[in-house]
Symmetry: C2
Subunit: 330 residues, 2 copies
């Protein structure tokens, strides 16, 4: 057993978000499925950017948002993701390092431009994401440091990384390294369409016992289980995944671990602004609780607290002092 000097090491797309206000009419005119993430190429990114209103830029990336939240909660974290050698890459690297996250993946001049996600926020605070992966899709296996994986208590992986080939191979390698080093693997399904594209792979990982903690929202989980009821989906997977966490937006969240089951309501909020990052921050709160040996219910509650902060402002990283908000439980 290695000495665990990192609580959570996350591997994900290193993305800068470009956030703009939009309306349902614009989404339909662009043929977008509201609330989802779609991949776009450089040409489409340029065309859509030109059609969009003025933006606010902020570091994003699903797993990166989760480690940002974990760092804000005081945990020891590391991140692995591929940036290009440009202004946006510098912004991403600065933001994540300034939170205390150990981030060492060197930017690549050959990998193309740093990934960006054009996020349209509608008046109902729902976010619709259009991701140009750029450099992020060239995250290579060689960026995974076996010593860092072994030093982590949990490796956290995002399903989004399953789309491009190179990062998928890097993740498979990370999973194997983790299990031979006594490091747990946490995995988020990320998006309904991602589950549709990679359902067979995700089921295989689960069947092979490679996922220790699975995060999904209700819709993603029903897609995975090909089920219509949450209860039957949970019954189906409870035996295959040591810890299963399902988020249900304003209806709260539930978890199943061994013989234990817990659920919590959503935290009350003052104003709903932008739901981007809600799932990412929920995962941060939950993992913080688990890393600190808290109960399943308290871990869920920590997830709900972290998610409630991030949906009350634009951007997918916490702005308020998360550690102070979580102090009663952590």
């Amino acid at each position: 057993m290695n000495e665990k000097t990192i609580d959570v090491l996350a591997i994900g797309n290193a993305i800068v978000d470009v956030i703009t206000d939009s309306d349902d009419g614009f989404l339909s005119s662009q043929g977008m499925a509201k609330g989802s993430m779609r991949l776009i190429d450089a040409g489409e990114a340029e065309r859509l950017y030109e059609a969009m209103g003025p933006g606010r830029e902020a570091s994003g990336g699903s797993a990166a948002n989760t480690v940002a939240g974990l760092a804000a909660l005081g945990l020891r974290t590391a991140f692995v993701g591929q940036l290009g050698d440009d202004d946006l890459g510098q912004i991403f690297a600065h933001d994540i390092r300034s939170l205390g996250v150990d981030f060492r993946t060197p930017p690549s001049a050959d990998a193309g431009a740093t990934a960006r996600c054009l996020i349209l926020v509608t008046p109902d605070a729902q976010r619709t994401m259009n991701t140009f992966l750029g450099a992020a899709q060239h995250l290579d296996k060689s960026a995974i440091d076996p010593a860092a994986i072994a030093a982590a208590r949990i490796v956290y992986l995002e399903g989004y990384l399953w789309d491009p080939e190179q990062p998928r191979a890097a993740m498979e390698a990370a999973i194997d390294l983790a299990h031979s080093a006594g490091t747990k693997v946490a995995f988020t399904l990320s998006d309904g369409f991602v589950v549709e594209r990679h359902r067979a792979d995700f089921l295989r990982l689960i069947d092979e016992g490679k996922i220790d903690i699975l995060f999904a929202n209700e819709q993603e989980f029903l897609h995975l289980a090909q089920a219509t009821s949450l209860d039957s989906a949970i019954a189906d997977f409870a035996g295959k995944v040591p810890t299963l966490v399902v988020t249900r937006s304003e209806r709260g969240a539930l978890a199943h671990s061994g013989n234990e089951r817990a659920s919590v309501p959503a935290e009350p909020i003052e104003r709903l602004v932008d739901t981007t990052g809600a799932g990412d921050l929920f995962a941060a709160g939950f993992l913080a609780g688990q890393a600190k040996g808290k109960s399943l219910e308290d871990s869920l509650r920590l997830g709900a607290i972290a998610a409630s902060e991030v949906i009350q402002h634009y951007g997918a990283r916490p702005e308020l002092d998360l550690a102070a908000l979580a102090a009663p439980l952590l």
Copy 2:
């Protein structure tokens, strides 16, 4: 008299803001004067950025914020400012064009990196700005199109541009072009330290009758007048400046024009978040009123409305529908 197809053409620093939360201790440790703007070089920009927390990026620049506000209020606007050929330059150009502002200054690969302003927002919502001018200081006279100046009803200039030599010459040229084309010149003093550095020049411009509309906050105006009371400063300048506008933060604003004087209180707000852009948006509201032939008092009130919107969120450009907020008056 030329046909006026542009309501306001602004010339200013083309800057992307990097906004972070900070506290008084950090400001003192960095030797910053709270609430002011200081110029920094590339090395200091890098050092300070490394010491700062995570940022939010958004297009800024004082005069650029003002035209952004004017465009949001439905006026016909144009902007002139120098960008570098990089990601931040693309962000600035996209944001201002997406608002309908006519922006044609080509980015320059030789002028260096696009300007950035590292803005520290303290819990009292005060902003302290550290500007690396980069490409912006290479705004050349050749970027000023005489036909565009002649087509504008008002040319709006920021005092900040007086620091670097090239833009100062460009502004002097723009002022002369404006006056020979029947275009009014509006000018903002920008900052107390800017006034200290260039007081003699600003007084000369005023004495030569080159400023038709002067914007200042109380402190800047007292610096300019070397006065201790606002009344005596106004008495001193009322005869020299056709329209004089003085903003007084939470105490509202006043204006003096010909024999007329008006004042308004600040608009009530729900929560004070970040005062960056308050003066810029006040100028936008006031100029919109003047361009639409509104009374001095209604123009002030429009300024107060636009300023009140921008101080209730991070970033110096409006997020809510300014035209709707201003509709009762405009």
